[in-house]
């Protein structure tokens, strides 16, 4: 193994790829795509609202319908501002009777099963997801009369004069439900908003019926928002839980894409050299191992270049104020701090992932003659990158569970699982060292095996080799 020759091969590979238009298109397009994917929906949500033309049939005989119409047309109540109501905490369903309003402790409604629909848990947090604007037509019915006029409402819905109609009656209120009639029932976001708002209005109405005055009710039922504080070596800091998830997701996604895309490029590169028959010209002067490592190194450097460009772009974009100026960022999306340790680990995990999988891809490229032939086995690494995605939520939720730790120590899974763990909570040093050690060993084995297949495979043209044949190359090369 002569490093200088691997360097020549790597240099050619790097320059040839950096100079393509495809590289620059991908470099610009991928972050744009991710950005659109991540920021787009929330941006759309915050800038646009759904228009729902609604008819309310009020058969309660209590004037509740009028109150609901007013509340729905007034729009969403303001999101909870944490800390605004320090005293009033006990609004949980079961504790309804215990309205003291004076306990200064931090008892945050321990069991709140009934209150979920009451809006306290959902209201503030989901505020961004439920910008539905209602225009309401009210129809008051005599209590007791059912079904009258329903056919006409259905016809209006079919003529698109209204989108949906709801009916409130005494039986429904007693059973804690109301009817929703519409041609399409798949508008879950609108339904959820409607359910929340109706529950709120009915809840207040009930409290008033129970003899509380309206001003006091406002103070008592004000929703709470969780404020997350990350504990880390550098000190606790208020940080969005959603932002932590966002970070873990973005880093995971970058690794995932990087490993698969660049692994595939290695395979295509080798197939191309084989296909264009230049491989034998090269292998007369450069040994297969030098050739393979040069190629892997060159392409790895291309990937790192691309990621460095992205990181620089990210640094510019997240510079204080800039992103906030472009997008109205909800307070819970406060950007997490990107520690140098995080970057270092990202870099190391990328190297691990790249060399583990790219060696395999290089082997496929050498063994087969065309993309089609190699495609069957090219899906294999996907299993190892999809598996962490399957467990992603569990890992982020509990990065130190036995499952998370176990998965992070299996070399093909390490890069992605460890990335999720590190982005969520820095694992103990011994686990990091163990994971890197195992990866290094696995890479050494992969290089050894793949170099052998490479050496034989690159000279094999024509017939598609069977797995047994490839195994024989490993043993006898």
């Amino acid at each position: 193994m002569r490093l200088d020759y691997a360097v020549i091969i790597g240099k050619r590979e790097y320059l040839a790829r950096i100079r393509t238009k495809g590289f620059w298109i991908a470099t610009v397009a991928v972050p744009a795509f991710i950005g659109a994917l991540v920021l787009g929906p929330s941006l759309l949500m915050s800038k646009t609202s759904t228009e729902q033309r609604l008819a309310i049939v009020d058969a309660t005989g209590t004037g509740l319908g009028r109150e609901l119409k007013a509340a729905l047309e007034a729009g969403e109540p303001a999101a909870a501002t944490p800390g605004a109501q320090p005293g009033a905490m006990n609004t949980g369903g079961e504790h309804g009777a215990n309205v003291t309003g004076a306990q200064p402790d931090t008892k945050t409604a321990p069991g709140e099963p009934g209150a979920r629909t009451g809006g306290a848990a959902g209201g503030g947090r989901r505020g961004g997801a439920g910008h539905v604007h209602f225009s309401v037509r009210l129809l008051v019915q005599e209590p007791g009369r059912t079904a009258a006029g329903h056919r006409e409402l259905d016809a209006m819905a079919q003529r698109r004069e209204i989108g949906a109609w709801i009916r409130l009656d005494r039986d429904g209120l007693a059973a804690n439900r109301f009817e929703y009639h519409a041609e399409s029932l798949s508008n879950v976001i609108t339904q959820e908003a409607l359910e929340r708002r109706v529950s709120e209005v009915v809840g207040r109405w009930r409290l008033r019926q129970a003899g509380l005055d309206a001003a006091k009710i406002d103070a008592l039922v004000h929703p709470l928002a969780v404020q997350t504080v990350r504990i880390s070596a550098t000190g606790s800091r208020a940080e969005g839980g959603a932002a932590g998830f966002f970070l873990a997701f973005v880093l995971f996604f970058m690794l995932y894409m990087g490993i698969l895309i660049y692994g595939n490029q290695v395979m295509q590169g080798v197939l191309e050299e084989k296909g264009s028959r230049i491989i034998e010209v090269l292998s007369a002067a450069v040994k297969p191992t030098e050739l393979m490592l040069g190629k892997l190194g060159g392409i790895c450097l291309v990937a790192l270049t691309q990621m460095a460009i992205w990181a620089a772009a990210l640094a510019v974009l997240t510079a204080p104020g800039l992103l906030a100026a472009m997008v109205a960022m909800p307070p819970e999306l406060a950007l997490p701090v990107l520690h140098p340790a995080l970057w270092l680990n990202f870099f190391l995990l990328f190297l691990c992932g790249f060399f583990l999988f790219a060696t395999f891809y290089a082997m496929l490229g050498a063994a087969f003659n065309s993309l089609q032939e190699a495609q069957q086995l090219a899906g294999l690494p996907a299993i190892f990158v999809v598996a962490p995605a399957v467990f992603m939520v569990q890992i982020i939720n509990d990065p130190d569970s036995a499952l998370s730790v176990g998965l992070s120590l299996v070399p093909p899974l390490t890069p992605l699982v460890m990335m999720l763990r590190i982005a969520t909570r820095m694992p103990p040093l011994w686990q990091l060292l163990a994971a890197y050690g195992l990866c290094a060993a696995a890479i050494a084995v992969m290089i050894w095996v793949c170099a052998r297949v490479y050496r034989v495979g690159i000279l094999m043209y024509g017939k598609k080799p069977t797995l047994q044949e490839i195994w024989r190359w490993v043993r006898h090369a």
Binding site: I8, S276, R277, I279, E280, V281, Y461
Partner: protein, 303 residues
């Protein structure tokens, strides 16, 4: 003459199939050596073993009079039968890269690249991508890539296959120029006529074995007197009779008759007497044996 390249009992097997069997061969310095044999004889495998692309199962490869070292391979210009270029690279980048992997510095390679491009009339094409070139032009680029680093030995696997006539001429001139410079050329071919015109030395291999090798002039001298040209109408049944005659080694049918190869010691006049018994012979004369005759005879003797 010192051998610049030598194989000692080199062997290569693929499972039960013996591709090259105990092959020993010495290529003297400063000659054009033709490695001849039909397709599948083991020529490419032999050349690949010399280049350390394949590892022999047994035996030894010597270069420049000593066991081969990795650095020696850079003093060789190797053109495999399966050849190619990076399609997306420019001609100059491509050649500089090939020079680099053969141990040259880009700075010293650049003037050589320009000189060569001018010589083969591709000076205006240096900045073009390889895929924009015609096939004939690509062959020229490939040829330059093989000789750019001024190799002391050229090893060419079927160099003339697929070449257009202009490039065949270019190649031939290059080989002759190399010989004038005292460098060594080993090339394989299954085209006997080509080899006959160019080679000083030949080695004939068949089924992985060397059946004959030596100086072409000497081989031809030894084989002379053994080939006869027969002009006569020959029916298929008669052909079988001719083959069965004593002293006949091989019969190569021709439009107007046949070419007859005789066993050592067989006499032409005696054979003629037998032939006239059943054929209308209009002509029968001794001919200079060509390489094909020699090859067929050698393979026959070895079997």
């Amino acid at each position: 003459m010192a051998a610049s390249l030598e194989l000692r009992n080199v062997e290569k097997r693929y499972g039960d199939f013996v591709a090259v069997a105990r092959l020993s061969l010495a290529v003297p310095a400063g000659v054009i050596f033709g490695l001849l044999g039909p397709n599948g004889a083991g020529k490419t495998t032999t050349l690949r073993m010399i280049m350390d692309i394949l590892a022999p199962d047994a035996g030894e490869v010597l270069l420049f009079g000593r066991p081969r070292r990795p650095a020696d391979l850079r003093r060789i210009g190797y053109l495999p039968e399966e050849r190619g270029l990076y399609r997306k690279m420019t001609v100059i980048d491509q050649l500089l890269f090939l020079a680099e992997i053969h141990g040259m510095k880009r700075r010293q390679a650049l003037p050589a690249v320009e000189e060569w491009l001018a010589r083969v009339e591709l000076a205006d094409w240096g900045q073009k991508k390889v895929e924009e070139l015609s096939k004939g032009m690509q062959q020229k680029v490939q040829l330059i890539g093989t000789v750019l680093h001024q190799p002391e030995i050229l090893i060419l696997d079927e160099p003339f296959s697929g070449l257009d006539p202009i490039n065949q001429g270019l190649f031939k001139d290059l080989l002759l120029e190399y010989r004038r410079l005292g460098r060594t050329i080993l090339f394989s071919t299954h085209g006997m006529a080509q080899a006959e015109k160019l080679c000083d030395h030949i080695g004939l291999i068949s089924r992985g074995r060397l059946v004959l090798d030596g100086e072409l002039k000497e081989i031809k001298r030894q084989a002379s007197g053994n080939a006869y040209r027969l002009v006569a109408p020959i029916a298929p049944a008669d052909l079988e009779r001719v083959k069965a005659l004593p002293g006949i080694e091989a019969v190569l049918p021709r439009d107007d008759g046949a070419r007859l190869l005789l066993a050592v010691g067989a006499s032409g006049p005696q054979l003629l007497r037998r032939l006239v018994e059943f054929l209308e012979v209009s002509e029968f004369r001794s001919e200079e044996p060509d390489l094909e005759d020699i090859f067929i005879k050698a393979v026959g003797d070895a079997a």
